[in-house]
Amino acid sequence: MKLLFFIGGGLLLMCAGCATAQEPASSPPQGAPPASSANEVISPQAEDLLRSACDFLAERPAFSFKGEIWREHVNDAGQRIQFSRSVQMDVKRPNGLRLELASPFAARAFWYDGKTLTILDRKHNWYGAASMPPTLDAAVDAARDEYGVDLPLIDLVVSNPYENATAKIETARYYGISPVLDVPCHHLAFTQDNVDWQIWIEDGPQPLIRKFVITYKNEPGQPEFTAFLTHWDITGPIADSDFIFLPPAGASKIEMRQVEPNRNQAK
């Protein structure tokens, strides 16, 4: 991919060189864009605000929130359709996670207790379970690599959210204060090679994440994932038992299929 980028970039430079050769040397083009280096900015303010929000989360031994997530799907006509889920997440570091994703058509619940990841399909009352590593960081990766499970919003769950979020960023910008459901927030925007993302962080002593958008810019139609996070609770204790799955009455266990070897591996 990088090779293609360089080839493409080289062609662009050659074309730019041709255009430049036809221009008088003393007349720079009107409205010329700024030098490319000026676009590749890392705003210190954006970095500082993101770090404060991430460190605030990392220091919480347990927290929970509710909210709503939207995931866009591009249909046959090329139209972006938003599918929404209500979400509730409970986290207890280093090895407790409980997640509910619900809509009238699909409702799934996830439990991770340091040993097992269980996924319950509430609509059918079927569940699957798989052994997991003993920490959240390793478990979210194992869930993805071994079982193909994408857990939304796990960027808030990992032990070092700042390092996780900034691992591949190319630019970081700060867009000032804007409201998210009436809460004044700092609006930050980041770009990466494969996605762009934005985050809204509460302005105040508790830098809570209130909104989060990921743009899948390399996918057809550039669909987005959006999350609004509400009902934060960063004080209440969460019992260990909340992360242990107890099958509901009548629930049936079904096979949790592993992905084939060499699928979904990090590249």
Binding site: D76, W126, V149
Partner: protein
């Protein structure tokens, strides 16, 4: 296959290889995107444009849909997408499962309101005639019809039915290195001439939605779903419920 004999398929493969190269990204987290799988081009999936017919054909004598052949009897020669296209189809299938939106997507699909056995006074505008071994069936939007006592009756997708374009809202289903397209209980294989043919449900296929006429059956203490002689077993794949085509279980 002589490449120049099938200009439509050749054009498709060219477009796939040249312009549809894209990265896959996990959804809902930066970590998932940073941890994403390999890129590959996307296979062909065309919007349906059924040819228009001015009026419905006259109902003829009643004929029941023929039994489906055994799964081993795959018809004709399927178009052979390259390994990259197969990998992309596999990735698309996994992405769709992870999003867990099959039920919602199907609400907008034309075929979602039909099930075998439904009787219709007339065929929908745009129907086309499908001849299979001397018998005429009718087709529109992923739904197949036979003539009935007083009009038409929706039937299970007849094996060997050949349609020029996929119905809307198909899902890709990869079994081994073969790419199938699935909608409304029908598995389609693309042919070298670019058309799509209904084939028997392939063992090992995993679909997000059951055929519309599937009914639960409990065998050996396990719940399966039975549709048109094919058994589907619920499984959890990529974090969401899906249905695996299995041989007839022992009761």
């Amino acid at each position: 296959m002589k490449f120049h004999s099938y200009p439509r398929l050749a054009l498709t493969l060219l477009l796939v290889s040249a312009f549809n190269f894209r990265l896959h990204a996990g959804w809902g987290s930066i970590r998932g995107s940073n941890h994403s799988s390999a890129p590959a081009p996307r296979p062909q999936a065309q919007a349906m444009r059924p040819e228009a017919h001015p009026e419905n054909p006259a109902p003829s004598q009643v004929m029941r849909p023929e039994n489906r052949p055994a799964p081993a009897q795959q018809p004709r020669f399927a178009a052979r997408p390259g390994p990259v296209a197969v990998e992309q189809a596999r990735t698309d299938q996994a992405d769709r499962q992870r999003m867990d939106i099959a039920q919602e997507r199907s609400q907008s699909a034309y075929w979602s309101g039909f099930r075998p056995g439904m009787r219709m006074d007339k065929l929908p505008d745009g129907w086309r005639r499908i001849g299979i071994r001397g018998h005429d069936y009718f087709y529109f939007g992923g739904i197949f019809y036979d003539t009935g006592p007083a009009g038409y009756v929706v039937i299970a997708p007849p094996v060997d039915a050949d349609i020029p374009e996929l119905p809307p809202d198909t899902e890709t289903v990869v079994v081994g290195d073969t790419v199938y397209y699935y909608a409304a209980g029908a598995f389609y294989l693309q042919q070298p001439d670019g058309s799509f043919v209904v084939v028997a449900a392939p063992m090992g296929a995993i679909v997000s939605l059951l055929p519309p006429d599937a009914v639960p059956v409990i065998m050996g203490g396990t719940t399966y779903y039975l549709a048109d002689g094919v058994y589907y077993q619920p499984v959890m794949e990529n974090g969401a419920v899906a249905y695996l085509v299995v041989p007839q279980p022992n009761s």
